[in-house]
Amino acid sequence: MSNIIDLTLSELVSNIKNKKISSNEATSEYIERSKKSKNLNTYIEETFEDALKKAKEFDSKPDLNKKLPGIPMAIKDLFCTKNVKTTASSKILNNFIPTYESTVTQNLWNDGAILLGKLNCDEFAMGSSNETSFFGNVISPIDKDLVPGGSSGGSASALAAKLTPATIGTDTGGSIRQPASFTGTVGLKPTYGSCSRYGIVAFASSLDQAGPMTRNVNDAALLLEVMSSFDNKDSTSVDFKRPMYSKDLSKDIKGKKIGIPKEYRVDGMSEEIEKLWEDGKNYLKDCGAEIIDISLPHTKFALPTYYIVAPAEASSNLARYDGVKYGFRTQGNNLIDMYEKTRSAGFGDEVKRRIMIGTYVLSSGYYDAYYLKAQKVRRLIKNDFNNIFQKVDAILTPSTPSSAFKIGDKSNDPVSMYLNDIFTVPVNLAGLPGISIPAGLDKKGYPLGLQIIGKSFDEQNILNIAYSMEDKINFKFNLKEWWMND
């Protein structure tokens, strides 16, 4: 039998169910490997001892009807976890221990999963390279100079380095799909309203969605099945009949119409990405799908729209971090002084930048020109998708305009950093599901991803398409374990 850490989530689940592997064995293996992988800087908080205790408890009375029976899992530090420090990678929450559990993580634990620890991410999920974290940047296991992407960079890195069999992230403008693409893994952003936002540190409420990050499509289907639930604690949660995504997974996509939006062929797009996209189309044709050229005319406005809407909401969402109730505080001479000192010291540069942009676009005299206009454009972007989904079943695009870049390459150039999200952002603005699957390597040998965008609550369809393509693509990446300590 192969090593435990090389098993996919689904394989590990069946091995535990068949009693070939115990939860304790799996948990111990992942802990050992995580301990040897500190160079990647993926973990912010480790809960190894507790995990082992829970694994043993599980083994002593295994409930094998659970979907994630005794499965150890590290998760992004944006999910509030009861009695476990939750920081959102910010100094301002450096000492914050929630007394409550997010709905999504509670769903995982209810179905048998065990928390290994909390994973690094960009501060308040603001970033595309995991360089904005108060706890330092995360390194990609792909190569030592490489960013893992962001904001779920710790999750992507830990997943690719096999420090967790699967993980969960959050995606506001591409924070699951972009790092998945950079690390040769699968990342799914569900339809807005599919996974509860309760207990997730908010970045931009109308865009945030939690989703699975896994080694293959089957695992993503399984994990989504567990994560997604209707939750009356989140007013934007949608009550719809949730399919058994993993059970219903099928490679029959014959006759499916897949749209190729011409607006995603951006200026200066590399030949590698062109080729990747072309290959994707061919794989789909091989599966019996029909390729249709389409237009999403408002695509070019998506990025500026996103960088108005998201900071606007963030500027308000982050107002609660004021040093009064919890978290970090710097003493001041009076209330205003305390606010200023606390927030100056507690937030990093990127977070401050976005708070300032958000405050600006909501200010009286600018609101109509920025925020209101952005909301109108958002509606047009949504309409583009709604119209096109009358004609096609899904849309295929590259996940990112390039492969992973080097640490420090873009950290001083916010605009070029923001351009990374150009293919992922429209999906959040429209509230649609999107999945990134590894689809090839660039010249440097770094992974590249393709994105499949679906109709609202049509996750099953894009999972099926991804599942079929996965088979044809047969993505392989030779992971050299250069980061490991003894």
Binding site: Y198, A202, S205, K233, T236, R320
Partner: protein, 485 residues
Amino acid sequence: MTKDYLIERNGKKYEVVIGLEVHAQVLSESKLFSTSATKFGSEPNTQVSLVDAAFPGMLPVINEFCIKQAIKTGIGLNAKINNKSIFDRKNYFYADLPQGYQISQYKDPIVGEGNVVLDLASGSKTIGIERLHLEQDAGKSIHDIDPKNTLVDLNRSGVALMEIVSKPDLRSPEEVNVYIKKLRSIMRYLGTCDGNMQEGSLRADVNVSVRKQGEDKYGTRCEIKNVNSIKFMQMAIEHEANRQVDILEEGGKIDQETRLFDTKKNETRSMRSKEDAHDYRYFPDPDLLPLQFNDEYVENIKKEIPELPDQKKSRFIEKFNLSPYEANILVSDLDISKYFEAVIENSDVKLSSNWITGELFALLNEKNLEIIESPISAKNLSKLINLIKDGTISGKIAKTVFEMMADGDKNPIEIVKEKGLKQQSDPKELEKLIEKVINDNQDKVKEYKSGKEKLFGFFVGQAMKVSGGKANPQLINEILKKKLK
């Protein structure tokens, strides 16, 4: 017609224009967006959920009961109910505002235009309502417990408020008094706000401007923030209107600003000017979907609306033949109207009205009690009135009995029996009694017969005195007239 409220200076007359933003706490067990309790006077920070304290990842979930309360109030204000409304965030930093924003309604409130009819000495007057919207209350900053620190109590944080904005239709402190009382009365009838000003359930921002009598254009207004009693509102308006007139008379200009009323010094002072006004950066709260309901939803709520003061007043006038003045007093407060209706269930309406607005109100006034705390129950007052009506006791004796009843809500029938206060109505007995009075006062009888007819009252008085006040005065009159012929 009473005189208009005008401020005179140097021979010129100024009219005062007032608009109110009333903040009424929604009567609800739990808060607007969380399940925490709303009980007044609880230990600090004992009614605070993670949502109220704005912990990371916490989300507001609307309390449907508060929505219904707002709709009810809107119906009571004869207002347009908006089937779609939006919750916005009003962003500002303060220690007792945990989220760093207040969830309120800005451009699209739940209730639109309506009106309230005031009964004034000069007749009735309709005051326009601009809108009613729902919003969260903030917590409370306490500055006087700790010498160095401000303490924060979040019990009130997230409690549902209705902000009821009037049009600038009010013209005097007295109209404001009547307006607030009418609003409060309507909401108490509806059960949507207890109107308790001491507990802060009802408070108002008062907008005041002045203009020369006869002018069409409004003057520049000042907003006096957060005034929590009718008396203070009236004082603040008087002071503020006079201040503005003084400025104008000196050739100055009014600055549009927010002012505070200092209740100790009886003056308003500037809090912040228009230039310093907060930029609240309102935007729709992305955590909450637009609030939508259909007409049927509103229709169903309409079915639960009880008879409101105006309707009750009309009914009292038509059905019971009460004067508008009496009816107004009896309907002004839901509890008074309930008391009245309980009394008249078994008693004469006119007598009941007289006794409630006369003796009972005097008693309550004297003891500083509300009608629900009345020492005499409606049931016993009804019995007393029946004793008067059927001639068992006289009105005068009834007053004595009433006083005795007040001590422990005693049954008047028992008192009358116990004290032997039953009216003497036996003509034979009374004749004997009168004969005694005549015999004892022969000199007066002479005078009377020689034309001093005024003395008749003296004989009545003597007869009543001899009877210990129990004699039926009507019979005494009749018999005396016969005997003195």
